[in-house]
Amino acid sequence: MSILVNRDTRLVVQGITGKTGTFHTQQCIEYGTKVVAGVTPGKGGQMWEDKVPVCNTVAEAVKEHGANASVIYVPPAFAADSILEAIEADIPLVICITEGVPVRDMAEVRRRLEFNDTKTRLIGPNCPGIITPGECKIGIMPGYIHKPGRVGVISRSGTLTYEAVWQLTQRGHGQSTCIGIGGDPINGTSQLDAVRMLNEDPDTDAIIMIGEIGGSAEEEACAYIKENVKKPVAGFIAGASAPKGRTMGHAGAIVSASGAGTAEAKFAAMEDAGVSIARNPSEIADALLRIYKG
C-alpha cells in the first residue's frame, strides 16, 4: 500500500484561507484527499468555500474533526510557529510546504522534534509534499502524473521528482508513495528516514532516491542501504556542474568552500551501496528498470 498517508488520512490545512492554501486545498480535494478542517487564527467557526470547517487552533481541528495529518501553507515568518503548534497538538504527520523559513527557526523546531514525548514526524519545509497515488495527495505536486504502484520515490526537489515520477508512469510503473523531503539545510525527515520507511513498507518493491549537492544526507542513506536494503534502489544527484560556495536555489544545495557535499562524493556513496546510478536526469526511471523488472 504505502507509507505515512493513505485513504484514511484526515488532513487539516494550516493557512487554508490564504491564496496558496486555498488553491492547493482545492486541488487536493479534487484528487480525493480527505480535508477535514482548516486553521486560520481568528476565522474559527467559518466555512472555507462552503466545504471545510475553519478552526482557530490545530488542537481544535484534532479534537473536533479528528485530524491526523497537517499541511502548512503559512508565510515563512510564521511557519515554524505553525509547525510547533501542530507538534503540541500531537498530530502524527506534519508537512510544511513553505519556502524561505529562517534556518534558526528550523534549528529550534528540530530540537523540539527530538524530545521524547514528540509524536510528530515533520516533512519539509520547502518541499512539494507527499502523495500515495490514488489515495491521498498532500502538497503541491500535480496529481495526474502519478499512478498507483510499488515504487517509492524520495527527493529533495519538486520538479525533479515530477520528472522521475512521470518517467516511471510513462513506462507503466506506478508509485507506492512519493515523498519530497525539501531543499532546506535543516528539515524534519531525512533521506535516511524516508529510505528506512520505504524499505520496511511491504507494499514498496523498489526505491528511487533523488538527491542534491550539499550536506551528507545522501551519504548517510547510502550507508544504511548498503547494510539493510535488499530492494532495488536507483539514484540521481543534481548539481554536479555547480560551482563551490554558491547556493543553487535551494538553501541546502551548496558545496562548501572546503569541498564537502559534492555530487561526486554522493555518486560514489551510491555506487558503494550498490545503487543503480542515473548519470543524467532523463534516465532516472531507466536506471531503476535496469535492476527492477516490476
Binding site: 534558526r104 530540537r111 503541491i140 535543516i186 555547480a242 572546503s258 536526469p281
Partner: protein, 396 residues
C-alpha cells in the same frame, strides 16, 4: 548575505567584542578624516571586498596586497590612493577581481599570538557549533586538514543557549590563563549573542589576537546572515552592498527569479531548483558549459519569462538558450504561450531550444511549432541538451 569586514567589526563592537579602532573611507576626503583620528602610530589599510585572501591579492595594475601595514600617515595615504577604485584579484575573486570602493583604516596592534574563533550553524546536528584553534591567522580548512587535533569544536543547543562552562571549556582549551579566560568568555558570549540574535550563518574571527599586554581583540572578521531572515533585521538588510553583486543577479531578484551567473555559454531557464541544477548538469554531460542557474519558480508567468530572457541575453557570453519546463499545476500550453510572447518581446539573437513536459504537453508543443518564433522544440531533456550543445558548437 555577506557583509564587509568593517561592518562586521562595528556589529561585534556593539556586542562587546573589542576590535581595533578603525574608520571606513570611500574617497580621499574620508581617508584624511580617518587619518586625523588615527594619529602617527602604526596604521593598517584594508581593502573592503566580499572575498578572502586580500592580503595576498594583487591589483590589476600590478600593485601588490589588499592589506597594508604602514608606519606613517603619508604611507597610509599612498596605500589608500593605490587601492581605492582599483580592482583587486585574490584567490577567491576569480580572475576578473573585485573593484575596491571602500577602505577600512585601523590602528595597528602588536600581535603576541593569533587564534581562530568561529560559530557556524551545523546542518547535520541542527546546532550552532563553536570552532576554535590556537592556529589563527591561517586558512582554517588547512588546519582542519593537516592538524585536526588542533580544532576545538563545542556544540551549543539552540534551546539552552551558550553556557558559562562552555566558554570556560573553550578558553582553557586555547590555553588562556587568569584574566584572559574572563576576557575570552566575554568575547565568546558576545559573538554567540550576535550570531543568534541576528540569524547569522557564520561569524568568524580570524585572527583573534593577544597583544604584548595579554589583551584580546578581533583583528579580522567575516559574517554572513541567513537570507531568509533578513526581513526580521532591517538593520542588517541595510548593510547589503549591491556593488558586490552581479547586476544580473540583482535584476533577477527584483522579478523573484533565482539566477546565478556562471562562466559558460549555454543559458538555461528552468522551473524548480533541483531541475535547474539537473539541467546544468546535462548540458555539461553533453560537452557544453552552462552560463547560469535560473529557477523561474513553480508558477512562471509571461512577465517573469520575459524578464528572464532579457537577463539571460544581457550576458555577452551566451550563445544559446535551453528552456526546460515541467508543467505540473501550471499547464504546458499556458507556459508555451508565455514563452512565445516573451520570445517575441525580446530580440532573440541566439539559438533557442525548448523542452516541455507534463500537463497538456501536446497542446504546448503545438503552440511552439505554430508560433513563428525561431526555436527548436525537443521531446526529451537529453535531446534538448544535445541539440543546444550542437547548435552552439557549430555556431562558434
Amino acid at each position: 548575505m555577506n557583509i564587509h569586514e568593517y561592518q562586521a567589526k562595528h556589529l561585534l563592537q556593539e556586542y562587546g567584542v573589542p576590535v581595533p579602532r578603525g574608520y571606513a573611507a570611500t574617497n580621499s576626503r574620508e581617508v584624511e578624516t580617518a587619518l586625523s583620528h588615527l594619529g602617527d602610530e602604526m596604521i593598517v589599510v584594508k581593502a573592503q571586498i566580499h572575498a578572502g585572501g586580500r592580503g595576498k591579492g594583487t591589483f590589476t595594475d600590478g600593485y601588490k596586497g589588499g592589506v597594508k601595514v604602514v608606519k606613517t600617515p603619508e604611507a597610509a595615504r599612498e596605500a589608500a590612493n593605490h587601492m581605492l577604485d582599483n580592482t583587486l584579484v585574490t584567490a577567491q575573486t576569480g580572475p576578473e577581481g573585485r573593484k575596491v570602493q571602500t577602505l577600512y583604516l585601523t590602528e595597528g596592534c602588536d600581535i603576541e599570538h593569533e587564534y581562530y574563533l568561529a560559530i557556524v550553524l551545523d546542518r547535520e546536528t541542527a546546532q550552532s557549533v563553536i570552532i576554535a584553534s590556537t592556529e589563527g591567522g591561517m586558512d582554517i580548512e588547512e588546519v582542519a586538514d593537516k592538524t585536526p587535533e588542533k580544532l576545538i569544536r563545542v556544540s551549543v543547543c539552540p534551546n539552552m543557549g551558550l553556557r558559562s562552562h562552555q566558554c570556560r571549556q573553550v578558553a582553557f582549551a586555547l590555553g588562556f590563563k587568569g584574566d584572559q579566560v574572563k576576557q575570552f568568555a566575554g568575547i565568546l558570549t558576545g559573538v554567540y549573542k550576535m550570531f543568534w540574535e541576528k540569524n547569522a550563518m557564520l561569524v568568524e574571527i580570524n585572527p583573534l589576537v593577544t597583544d604584548k599586554d595579554g589583551n584580546l581583540s578581533a583583528l579580522d572578521a567575516k559574517v554572513s546572515f541567513d537570507g531568509n531572515a533578513i526581513f526580521q533585521h532591517p538593520d542588517i538588510g541595510q548593510l547589503r552592498d549591491l556593488n558586490e553583486e552581479d547586476p544580473k543577479e540583482i535584476e533577477a531578484s527584483k522579478h523573484n527569479l533565482a539566477y546565478i551567473a556562471l562562466d559558460g555559454n549555454i543559458a538555461c531557464m528552468v522551473n524548480g531548483a533541483g531541475l535547474a541544477m539537473a539541467t546544468m548538469d546535462i548540458i555539461q554531460s553533453f560537452g557544453g558549459s552552462p552560463a547560469n542557474f535560473l529557477d523561474v519558480g513553480g508558477g512562471a508567468n509571461e512577465d517573469q519569462v520575459t524578464a528572464a530572457f532579457k537577463i539571460i541575453l544581457s550576458d555577452p557570453n551566451v550563445k544559446g538558450i535551453l528552456v526546460n519546463i515541467f508543467g505540473g499545476i501550471m499547464k504546458c500550453d499556458v507556459i508555451a504561450n508565455g514563452i512565445v510572447a516573451a520570445a517575441k518581446n525580446v530580440d532573440m539573437t541566439v539559438p533557442l531550444v525548448v523542452r516541455l513536459e507534463g500537463t497538456n504537453v501536446e497542446a504546448g508543443k503545438k503552440i511552439l511549432r505554430e508560433s513563428g518564433v525561431a526555436l527548436t522544440p525537443a521531446d526529451s531533456l537529453a535531446q534538448a541538451a544535445e541539440i543546444i550543445v550542437e547548435q552552439v558548437q557549430s555556431h562558434s
